[in-house]
Symmetry: C2
């Protein structure tokens, strides 16, 4: 096992009715900025629950944070936060709202040009305290210190992370997810699945417990993902899905193990170039990375085949291919295609070269746990996923 430091101070408030308790976790005299996305929370009752919970507090609101939250939008919220002397941000929504709100919280207290937080990894020394009311299980952002932000003007999609950006609390009420469109539910399952794979599917590192935990998340997603789509108001299913997505990226399963993240880096460029949903890019790229790096990942691919897909016998290469095909079929069964063609991308044949060039332009010279995926190899991977 590799040395590691693990720290996650986010208080998880899990279950139905927990939104009502948030005021007890916000300073009594705080001026609160409630941030949200496209307005679905106004239709499903979550906005009203939050408003009721904040009764008596001074609060403002900023809606319209989009999927792949944009720097330009967020900077308007930063201006509002400074104008109204906000001292607590309450993000109500999914991973994009949580990510965007982390940037708002950090930028509002940043001295200098906030863009540097993303473009130059300028250190974040402080941030407004942040709470999250999660409505879409997927990214794990509700319980980590990371965020991914896009800039419309340049087409960049960049990340930052800071210990100051861990939410103080995260409310996970499975009922808030009942009204999600199937596409978002499916995306969330794929996202959590690939988050887990990025931390698991590398090479053996004397970390049997981390492996078991990761496999536990994968099993749970495989079992419950289809059920969540079939029965949107099944509380038990939505509850375990929500908890699985949080644990897939709260830092725990990545403790002491090598990590990959090539699929995410390639996927980010696909979203920026072609506008696919984040999870759609992951469903396209992951099988390609697994096949291209099957030599590097051989031992773990065999373990994955045996423990997750029950393929423990027969020719080893056949087992590995069967596990990758099973992964593709799982994504497809959720309604998330695994080939670029299915998304109607114009001039798809040019995609590998475009994505390769984008990665190079962003300075990614060598992705993956061994640093062996160059932009050129990323292009080859994508060429096999058209």
């Amino acid at each position: 096992m590799q040395n590691f430091s693990y720290y996650n101070p986010t208080r998880i408030l899990f279950g139905e009715g927990q939104i009502a308790s948030i005021a007890s976790h916000i300073p009594a005299h705080a001026r609160v900025l409630v941030t949200y996305g496209g307005g679905s929370i106004r239709k499903n009752g979550v906005y009203d629950q939050v408003a009721a919970a904040l009764a008596g507090l001074t609060w403002f609101e900023f809606g319209g944070i989009e999927p792949n939250p944009r720097y330009e939008t967020l900077m308007r919220a930063v201006a509002l936060a400074r104008l109204e002397r906000i001292d607590f941000v309450l993000a109500v929504g999914g991973g994009s709202v949580a990510d965007g709100s982390k940037f708002i919280a950090a930028a509002a207290r940043f001295e200098g040009e906030p863009w540097d937080i993303l473009a130059r990894h300028a250190p974040v020394h402080a941030a407004l305290p942040l709470g999250v009311v999660l409505t879409l299980p997927a990214t794990g952002s509700e319980s980590n210190g990371f965020a991914v932000i896009s800039r419309e003007a340049t087409g960049d999609k960049l990340s930052f992370g800071s210990e100051h950006c861990y939410p103080v609390f995260a409310v996970l009420d499975p009922r808030t997810t009942f009204s999600l469109p199937p596409r978002q539910v499916a995306n969330g399952v794929v996202d959590a699945f690939v988050h887990t794979m990025e931390q698991y599917m590398t090479y053996p590192a004397d970390a049997p417990l981390q492996d078991r935990f990761a496999e536990g998340i994968l099993h749970t997603l495989i079992e419950l993902g289809p059920q969540a789509l079939a029965r949107p108001d099944d509380y038990a299913v939505r509850a375990s899905l929500m908890w699985s997505a949080t644990l897939a990226l709260n830092g725990l399963i990545g403790c002491g193990v090598p990590q990959d993240w090539a699929t995410h880096m390639i996927g980010h460029e696909i979203t920026a170039e072609f506008g696919l949903d984040h999870a759609q890019t992951l469903a396209v790229v992951l099988p390609g990375v697994l096949r291209a790096r099957r030599a590097d990942k051989r031992a773990k691919l065999l373990q994955y085949a045996a423990r997750v897909w029950n393929r423990a016998d027969g020719d080893e290469d056949a087992r590995i291919e069967a596990a990758i095909v099973a992964t593709e079929r799982f994504f497809e069964s959720l309604g998330v295609p695994t080939r670029l063609a299915a998304y109607g991308v114009a001039e798809a044949a040019a995609a590998p070269a475009k994505i390769s060039a984008r990665l190079a332009a962003h300075g990614f010279k060598a992705l993956g746990e061994h640093g062996r995926i160059t932009p050129a190899i990323a292009g080859e991977i994508l060429a096999a996923r058209l």
Copy 2:
């Protein structure tokens, strides 16, 4: 899944060499009280590593915290902490030192009679900040807010817990465990195993991920426990054992699920009455609880038999008995007997009545996840474990 709140702010510093980093997690002008046990840390080099790491800080020491740490001993440390105006406690040792140091940290800032924290569950509103350098993987105390304290004068063994008693940091350096006596290593494996079982072996609660995580810990302990005894200086084995013991009782696997803890409550009385090691009592009692409550626990016993002991076929009652026998054999294989007779207890035949009376005297009317284990039933359970 049941509603829950999960909060664990302890920073885990894992791996060899991490002791050297502790000063960066202690306030620069803190007056530190280093607490430890019987002095093994002076022989295995840990004391010297801690002293080197604290160079430049003002620190004091208090040794001699015994297994099942005693109120009487700890109150002497509280007096020292007050006299020297201590503002940080650094516990160096196993669960007993960590537990005792939590009490020291809470009692030093308690207004009133500190015994009330244990005897009357007086609320703890503040505590000195606490760090832990762990040398014995077992109790999980390094990353939770709980402690169990004994009082010599009365023979009581009582617990308390507070959010203020979470260690600020916990150093887990597997090398500190190389010199442990086999008995302590084996006890630690049994302790972590039974902690996991207390949170897992109840009834199904729509919590498939918690089940998978618990089973992952059990698998890891079963696989690595014997290896840790066979090869005391195998870093990889000790590392995963250490991480497993922490995760068995840092609150995570108990989120949203029913819990038992009858084995622990009965075990505490056996330690108080007969002086057995904590883990020894667990090895004796757990199989008895499983057999006595097999009707209540039937579904989970079958799941345990199938997933942990690979017994998924044949008569259901036979599968359950086989899983319980496998559990007993696992403990015995580590050198931890599962019958009271093996510990040379005088007048063992009177033990069930004695333990039953002790539970009743401590006000335990109904233990277990269903509250169905009365002191009389606890006596019956023990009568089957002589």
